[in-house]
């Protein structure tokens, strides 16, 4: 194999989400001469972005004053908030928690917003490269991060080069900014290598699934923001739904489940589909059609789980740095603010060093400190969680206590030790029929003749211990039907339908043995989300 070609930049940003793009834009605003590259694995900017999303406009006002005159394609001002507690057939209105008061906020498609930010970054001179995976880290001689290695393309399933083989290049830069979002695979490696979570509690996660619908004319009330708790989850499982009413008869709805659930038989996707059949939601959707669908894991650990956001030659921002605010159900403002702060730091210091202290003393982290006990309060169930949330909200997090976190993959109970509660789930009629049909709406695409990008580190466990202990939960927690246990002539085996993968990273997080390693597939592969 020949020497890899090298391109040199001042800063290379991994991931063109709101954090990475805000960072690149701010850096060019402060230092027009800086050479900034943004690497993005999706074929088009925004195509791997999935979020609710109601956003606070503050960071956009700071970053791009005047943006309101040329807003992103999907952008509806929030008109009113509703917060509901659901039972299988009924509902009760709850007071909207103050963190969820969305007055002045906007419902957007975060994917479309990123697609709208990208040309503005390019206009400032940022080089954005969609369709390329940053698959590895380049380290300098002294062990610091020195840039990224772009994944090879045109490699066959067995690893041999195809006719179209193209060796990935290296992008070298004094600073690498990791904005891969939740559980990025480079961030994961670097967090481990540089022991960035040594003083933190385990990060915790949720998985969010989302569908964009076009409903019958008149059913959508543009600007209405609805959140629900309760059914279809049992009170021991953390999660809830969002229903955001957009313009043009469109509704974005989704469901988030904490990945610390214990029930090995639980299927988050099924919970989402059940939620759509609650009378309140079903009425809305009936007669409509799905435009787009997908899933993505999100960080929930908050303050206690924050990694050190710097290492020699690199820094972490956005969800890669664990900055999402769970009680607000928002991460975009945190992502953008942290990206901008990173840019300001780099413009002044030209080094990653010192960024962590700057981040930790910023409003970004103090916002998380205030709400640090709310999410772990739900470890004891929905009702005690709500009480904790009320206390922590009233005291603004000033009580001298900090609840501890547990790692999600350790939360799963063994099949012999757990009996699934009756969740009162019923038959379904609304599409999609199953996860495979849902994947169709994600328009996910991977060249099937490429190495499987879901690496099973110890395959023997799958058909032995895991089957006995957990009944192969990967076949349930994956929202895209990537994992299947197949019984054929050779006996039982795990089949990995890698081409279905929507890059949500749930498997990497929830697998109880931590033997699933998600790596980047060939650049340009993955979902092709439209307006998610």
């Amino acid at each position: 194999m020949s020497e890899r070609e090298i391109m040199e930049y001042d800063v290379v940003v991994v991931g063109a989400g709101p954090a990475g793009l805000a960072c690149a834009i701010r850096l060019k605003q402060l230092q027009p001469d800086a050479m900034v590259a943004v690497i993005e694995k999706s074929a088009e900017i925004g195509a791997h972005i999935l979020s609710g999303a109601v956003i606070e406009p503050g960071p956009l006002d700071e970053l791009l004053p005047g943006w309101r005159d040329k807003p992103p394609p999907v952008c509806v001002p929030v008109a009113r908030d509703e917060f509901w507690y659901l039972t299988a057939t009924g509902r009760r209105r709850l007071p909207t928690p103050p963190q969820q008061n969305n007055h002045g906020n906007f419902i957007v498609s975060l994917g479309a917003l990123c697609g709208w930010l990208a040309p503005q970054a390019e206009a400032l001179g940022v080089d954005i490269f969609p369709g390329y995976s940053a698959s590895g880290i380049h380290f300098t001689a002294d062990g610091a991060v020195g840039g990224v290695i772009i994944g090879d393309m045109g490699v066959s399933r067995d690893g041999t080069p195809k006719d179209t083989y193209m060796q990935g290049i290296e992008i070298h830069a004094p600073t690498t900014v990791l904005s891969e979002g939740c559980r990025g695979h480079l961030s994961k490696q670097l967090i481990k290598r540089f022991k960035l979570t040594e003083n933190a509690q385990p990060q915790t996660y949720g998985v969010g699934m989302k569908e964009l619908w076009r409903v019958q004319p008149g059913k959508s009330q543009p600007g209405l923001v609805q959140h629900t708790l309760g059914w279809p989850l049992d009170s021991a499982t953390y999660g809830g739904s969002f229903i955001y009413h957009l313009d043009k008869d469109r509704i974005a709805l989704g469901f988030v489940t904490g990945l610390d659930y214990a029930d090995p038989e639980f299927t988050p996707f099924e919970a989402f589909q059940q939620m759509k059949h609650h009378p309140m939601v079903k009425d809305l959707l009936e007669g409509g059609e799905i435009l787009s669908a997908g899933a993505r894991a999100l960080v929930e650990g908050g303050y206690q789980a924050l990694p050190r956001a710097e290492m020699p030659g690199a820094l972490l921002i956005g969800d890669a740095a664990g900055l999402l605010n769970v009680p607000k159900i928002k991460g975009t403002h945190q992502a953008m603010r942290s990206g901008m702060l990173a840019a300001e730091h780099l413009a002044e210091q030209s080094t990653a060093s010192g960024f962590d202290a700057r981040l930790k003393s910023s409003a970004i982290v103090s916002e998380l400190h205030k709400v640090r006990n709310i999410r772990p309060g739900f470890y004891k169930g929905l009702w005690r969680g709500l009480i904790t949330a009320a206390i922590e909200t009233i005291t603004a997090g000033k009580l001298p206590r900090t609840l501890t976190l547990h790692a999600d993959h350790t939360a799963l109970a063994k099949v012999t030790e757990y009996t699934s509660p009756d969740r009162h789930w019923g038959a379904r009629e609304l599409p999609p029929r199953d996860r495979l049909a849902s994947v169709y709406f994600a328009a996910t695409e991977h060249d099937e003749d490429q190495p499987v990008h879901l690496q099973i580190l110890e395959p023997d466990i799958c058909t032995s211990r895991c089957t006995q202990e957990y009944n192969n939960p990967c076949t349930r927690f994956c929202p895209a039907s990537v994992y299947e246990m197949v019984e054929d002539a050779d006996g039982q085996r795990l089949q990995i339908n890698a081409a279905n993968c929507v890059h949500c990273k749930t498997c990497d997080i929830k697998d109880p043995y931590q033997i699933i390693n998600w790596v980047t597939p060939e650049g340009g592969s993955g979902p092709n989300y439209q307006n998610l």
């Binding site: 070609e5 391109m7 074929a43 088009e44 925004g46 195509a47 394609p73 999907v74 498609s109 994917g111 479309a112 697609g115 080089d127 490269f129 369709g131 390329y132 772009i150 393309m153 045109g154 006719d163 179209t164 193209m166 290049i169 992008i171 076009r214 004319p217 008869d249 435009l291 169709y440 709406f441 328009a443 695409e445 092709n528 439209q530 307006n531």
Partner: protein, 248 residues
């Protein structure tokens, strides 16, 4: 010898195209746009011919608004030497597109014009043949192999009956099919180089071509859904049913 390659900006083949509820068109809001995949194959073939020493220059040409410069830049990043945008606001039906290409052909005098057999948006499959007609030159459509030999080209065509081979004198128009080649990936540094390659803008009016879209598209509708048919109980019934329908 120069090779001219026509490329069209189209909705990416991964996008599930959806008709708007009012039937006025298809929903293109926020959808990914790409180089028409058949045109990518056309460009790949041109680049291979140049790399084999059979051509000296590869020029990509597209007709459309400034947004099609994105696809021209992709063509340049793949390896084309320069690009021409025929600037026009609205859509061009194939005859106008062929007339515009003819003007560019007259200016550039290429030995070969290569295009995709059809664009995956309107699926017309006309422009290449029309250009050949207006230019009064040979056409070799559905190409699965192109061999250049001096002043002529031998082209294998994927026709319904099999593989047909024809020989054409140059200059000629070739339209390509899927199996001709597999286009290369774009090397990242080449994206940067492409930004510095020349891209000329030729307004359609300056070429003296009038937009003549003589076919009026009235409405768009989604395709009819397949309906559930009948269930039979036995294999005998199945065979009988197929015989009744003249299928066995």
């Amino acid at each position: 010898m120069k090779i001219l390659v026509g490329i069209k900006r189209v909705v990416d083949y991964n996008v599930r195209v959806r008709v708007l509820p009012d039937g006025s068109g298809v929903d293109t809001e926020g959808v990914k746009m790409s180089v028409n995949p058949f045109d990518e194959i056309a460009l790949e073939e041109a680049l291979r011919l140049r790399e084999a020493g059979k051509a000296s220059e590869v020029i990509v040409v597209s007709a459309g608004g400034d947004e099609c410069q994105q696809q021209l830049r992709t063509g340049l990043a793949m390896g084309a030497d320069r690009a021409i945008q025929i600037k026009t606001d609205g859509p061009l039906q194939p005859l106008s597109a062929a007339r515009a290409l003819l003007k560019v052909t007259e200016r550039e005098q290429p030995g070969l014009v290569i295009l995709g057999k059809q664009a995956i948006d309107d699926d017309n499959n006309q422009t290449g043949q029309m250009l050949a007609a207006l230019w009064n030159r040979p056409q070799a459509t559905f190409a699965s192999e192109v061999v250049l030999d001096g002043e002529k080209a031998t082209v294998t065509r994927e026709v319904d009956a099999g593989l047909e081979t024809i020989e054409v004198d140059l200059p000629a128009v070739v339209t390509v099919d899927l199996r001709l080649n597999e286009p290369r990936f774009v090397k990242l540094p080449d994206i940067m180089k492409a930004k510095r390659k020349p891209l000329d803008v030729l307004p359609l009016e300056e070429l003296g071509v009038a937009v003549e879209n003589d076919l009026a598209i009235n409405t768009y509708s989604p395709p009819p859904q397949r309906q559930k048919g009948i269930m039979v109980e036995t294999t005998e019934q199945l065979v009988q049913e197929l015989k009744n329908r003249g299928l066995l």
